[in-house]
């Protein structure tokens, strides 16, 4: 009898409920974009391009390791520019509270905690914010599925995300999420006046150790004309990064084998 009622209830639920909700799509996208593998390494080159065409280069190695409870640790070593060479930056990211951030300054041989409240601050002067690098919590926005459409040859969900907080520089974001990989192939950020502010594009996607990975991406501020192009030169997953890597000791003396 019980199973009959259950079957009846299921039959009465409208068909669309079997499709993914917008929040589920964004949760899967967040996992595909920021959490794949047990750990991850990328040596990346960031080109910061001004409206006038002047280029500045940031070259760094990013190491990430996942921990239980959606916690992540990031370790970043800078190769370029010369004034930040050998600098390291470490983040412990928690799903429910402010990150812990540390910076190592080689000339002073000093590791310091740095304030981390403003997650929308620019990462090393680029058009990417800290949140763009390590992920914005899905719960901070209200998501709606706007439509489904093709972006180039790829079938995508188009999701509108509206920040719950008012102190964010964008009023809403549209994401084109690939139905196959769940990676965001394009994002449009609209400012508080509703004007288009920034556009993110996934310019190249490669599968590395079975994980679809955006290996070239651009964030362009369409209002200022400034843009940032990030290219992953070496990408790898499941390297077996040790927990002890994410420590003051190794910020001061990063192991060559991991940062090269």
């Amino acid at each position: 009898m019980k199973s009959f009622i259950l079957a009846l209830v299921i039959a009465l639920i409208p068909c669309s409920a079997f499709a993914l909700s917008a929040t589920e799509i964004m949760t899967k996208s967040h996992e595909a974009f920021y959490y794949p593998g047990k750990d991850f390494k990328a040596r990346m080159v960031m080109k910061l391009i001004s409206a006038g065409g002047q280029q500045r280069i940031r070259e760094l190695t990013l190491l990430r390791k996942n921990f239980p409870g959606d916690k992540q640790k990031y370790f970043i070593y800078f190769f370029q520019p010369a004034d930040v060479k050998d600098m390291t930056f470490m983040v412990y990211k928690y799903p429910d509270r402010d990150s812990d951030r540390w910076l190592y300054i080689p000339a002073l041989n000093m590791v310091r905690r740095i304030a981390a409240q403003d997650k929308r601050s620019s990462f090393v002067g680029s058009d990417f914010s800290y949140e763009d690098v390590s992920g914005r919590n899905v719960n901070e926005d209200v998501h709606t599925l706007v439509r489904e459409e093709k972006l180039g040859a790829r079938d995508c969900y188009v999701v509108k995300s509206v920040p719950k907080a008012a102190d964010v520089e964008f009023s809403y974001k549209l994401s084109w999420v690939d139905k196959a990989s769940y990676l965001p192939l394009k994002e449009q950020y609209y400012d508080r006046r509703g004007e288009l502010l920034k556009v993110f594009t996934a310019d190249e996607v490669k599968t590395v150790k079975g994980f679809p990975t955006i290996t070239k991406r651009t964030m362009k501020n369409v209002q200022s004309g400034h843009s940032t192009v990030v290219t992953f030169e070496k990408t790898d997953y499941n390297l077996g990064l040790s927990d002890s890597l994410f420590s003051e000791r190794f910020m001061k003396r990063p192991p060559q084998q991991w940062i090269e």
Binding site: Q54, Q80, N109, A115, S247, R249, R253, Q256
Partner: protein, 408 residues
Amino acid sequence: MLFVFAGSALAINIAKDVTLDGFLQGNYSVDTARANPDGDYFKLAEERLQLKLEANKDPFRVFIKSDFFHDWIDGRKFDSELREGFVEYTSDKWDARIGRQIITWGVGDLVFINDVFPKDYDAFFSGRPLEYLKKGVDGAKFGVYPGFASFDVVVIPFFTPNKFPSPDRFWLFDPMPQITDRPEEEPQTSLQNTEVALRAYKDVAGFDTSVYFYRGFFRQPSAIPDNHFAPSKLTLVFPELSVYGASAQGNALGGVLSLEAGYYESRDNESGKNPFIPNGQTRFLIGYQRQPWTDFTAGLQYYVEYMQNYSEYLANLQPGIPAVPKWDDLFSLRLTQMLRHQTLKLSWFMFYSPAVGDFMLNPEVKYNFTDSIWAALGSNIFGGGNKASQFGQLARDNNTYVQVRYEF
């Protein structure tokens, strides 16, 4: 013009595991109010080349950082300075670094309690880049990482004093200017005089927590007269010092909270009755840093030092020397705004002592023209307090400085 180079970095890979890089720098600082005691207006006028040579061959690393400079003030001389030079060995559970090296401990921003390592205040007050505030120690540092905590053990057989502004370039308080015979006696190199500094650190409830111990010497000399009533000679000595301290730093109250304390045991003046040697002290620091808006950081600190045996100090104080308060304190405020994709940095740093009433202000603008060329323009402004207080005595030494650097 020194900075004729442009564009891309020139860092050189000599071999696979050997790199050479560095910078060319011009650094000039002029007294904005009056001439220096020696009649010149410049606190600083020099060009400097720094070369950093690094060779890696696991588990060993060799690092040499050496400066070559041309000084326009001290007889227009060329000179060099080994900033750091060490060999490092790294294994799984421990490492060792032997040679000249810069060590920075504690959580203060320009306030030092457990950072007992040598400083260059001449550099700090005359407008050099901040890294020149720290001097290397000549010794060995061992790191031990057994898992439950981490340990630093520093052994320094060769004493290095702090460097203070020179009386030629800075107007400084001097209670006995008529006495010019001032021999300096640094602690001799011996097993007994070898300085030892220890630090144990670990994460405790999300706070980076450290405890510290130091046994060695004050790095600021004490002037000991040969005769109390009619002195003809002042011997500059470095009294014995031990420091016991602790610090913690972590996220709290929507920002980063820092706490540090230390007990300074003045081993050559335990009773506090010797007017020529500092009394023991207990020092406390609380600091708070947060980001109220994008690319803007504010840091506030309050520091206080309590003098032990204060009545003995007052009873023995020499005539003509203003008394230091029993509770001496210091506020600091640092404001930093980054603009134009973090190429333009506006900063404001301020020390103010409520107990003494003196202050130091340091506004600075720094701009990165390209990835390899930056320039900074700033001022050091001193005043308040009295003729002997830390910043009050520098009231005639306000200066404006320029730093220009090409990094490769």
